[in-house]
């Protein structure tokens, strides 16, 4: 039977309406059945009651809504104390410092790659020498960034040696070292300068052989920088020496005078050696190398010093142009020259420094006594 034949009017209207309702209820039952299947399946699979838990755990895992804590009730800036282990050097780094450290450690970034390149370049020279034992150790430890940084610092100091700050720090170290190593009474406050009135003639003399010594107009203190300090002129220095030591005093003692060489020969030779092997430039003045080394190496242990001492003579002979004479003899002669009058002392002083006159300290003091 076709639908076109169906009479839709008259009493059939009610029949039709009944059929519409039947269809509707069928649809609703379908929906119910679908829901029943869904629920039944959920029950049998065990996930029907998953969305509700018991009251205790609901309370336990309640969302916390308080200032200063996250939704789990934890303080949320805990990460500040976290530390990460560097995969390269195995050290523990604070999380906030990890990225910069990694950059340096792995040699990424502009500066670090420079350091790394320098390191590589210097490695080739260094491999021949046995003196840089620490650096070799660093190499073996795969902790090369640290060594590179150290090296770069040394280099920097080499380059900046003429700045007033450098020479000031040199004085500082100079004083400490001199006090401990030699018998010279270096116990002044080098930060504020020295008031010359309180010093004895011996002290004034020894000071003037090592320092600029120009007396300030305002503070009436002596300048404690090196004899090449850029703040004062040679004329000023000369005037001070004439004023303090009399007209017979040395016009301008050389920078590499006795006291300094006496207390500083060891680091001096070290610098010179390292300088030689790093830069192949033996023509650098010994004072400069002394200044750079004094700040970087003053805390070195005794052991490497001894080691270097043995090879020192060799090295200095090559670098210093081979000025002969035993350590004791040259030390004595320099002592005389430094305190009396010498402007042609500089070329000798290079070698005497490296000859490191061990006996020069007593001999110098005796010379001073003689002079007075």
């Amino acid at each position: 039977m076709k639908m076109e034949d169906m009479p839709l009017s008259g009493p059939d209207n009610t029949r039709l309406e009944a059929m519409v309702h039947d269809i509707y209820s069928e649809l609703v039952e379908d929906a119910c059945l679908g829901l029943c299947f869904e629920v039944h399946r959920a029950v049998k699979q065990g996930y029907f009651f998953l969305d509700e838990t018991d009251q205790e755990s609901m309370k336990e895992f309640e969302i916390v809504d308080q200032p200063g804590v996250d939704i789990f009730g934890q303080v949320y800036n805990q990460w500040k104390n976290k530390e990460c282990e560097c995969p390269n050097c195995k050290r523990l780094i604070a999380a906030s410092r990890f990225a910069p450290h990694l950059e340096k450690c792995l040699g990424m970034g502009r500066n670090s790659s420079r350091i790394a390149n320098r390191r590589l370049a210097s490695n080739n020279n260094m491999s021949k020498s046995e003196s840089d034992q620490e650096d070799n150790d660093d190499l073996n430890d795969n902790d090369w960034s640290y060594g590179a940084e150290k090296k770069s610092k040394k280099r920097k100091s080499d380059k900046n040696q003429n700045s007033p700050r450098r020479s000031k720090s040199l004085k500082h170290k100079n004083g400490e070292l001199g006090g401990s190593v030699s018998s010279e009474p270096y116990k002044y406050n080098y930060n504020t300068g020295i008031s010359y009135e309180t010093l004895g003639p011996d002290e004034v003399r020894s000071l003037l052989t090592t320092q600029c010594g120009v007396i300030s107009e305002h503070t009436k203190k002596m300048c404690t920088r090196s004899q090449r300090c850029p703040q004062h002129t040679d004329e000023q220095r000369r005037a001070v020496r004439v004023f303090l030591l009399g007209p017979s005093a040395p016009s301008l003692p050389d920078a590499d005078a006795v006291v300094e060489s006496d207390s500083f020969d060891i680091p001096d030779g070290q610098t010179l050696m390292s300088r030689l092997q790093w830069e192949d430039s033996p023509d650098i003045s010994p004072t400069d190398s002394a200044s750079s080394k004094a700040s970087t190496n003053h805390s070195d242990s005794r052991k490497p010093k001894k080691k270097k001492r043995t090879s020192l003579g060799l090295n200095s002979a090559g670098g210093g142009g081979g000025v002969g004479g035993s350590g004791c003899l040259t030390g004595g002669s320099v002592g005389v020259g430094g305190s009396s009058s010498s402007s042609s002392q500089s070329n000798i002083s290079l070698s005497t420094k490296k000859k490191r006159p061990k006996l020069s300290a007593p001999s110098i003091s005796s010379i001073y006594d003689d002079l007075n």
Binding site: M6, M19, D22, V28, A31, G34, H40, F48
Partner: protein
Amino acid sequence: MSKDSQMRAAINQKLIEMGERERLKELLRAKLVECGWKDQLKAHCKDVIREKGLEHVTVEDLVTEVTPKGRALVPDSVKKELLQRIRAFLAQHATL
């Protein structure tokens, strides 16, 4: 009455053939979810299941428990809309 049942069969076939039945079913389901009918019935299902025990629930139990309630809970607006669409369909195809 055979004429009536014949007519029913014809109409059902037409509904399925034209895909109207599927469309109506989908519409009804969407409407029922929208108005919260499904959630109400689910809550009722939970009660039934707790009563019977999780292990002993059958589909028949659920159907017999849920269907009367489901039928009663359908909102009037949804019911009216659905009836309207069915009627329109029949009118459209009866005149062909």
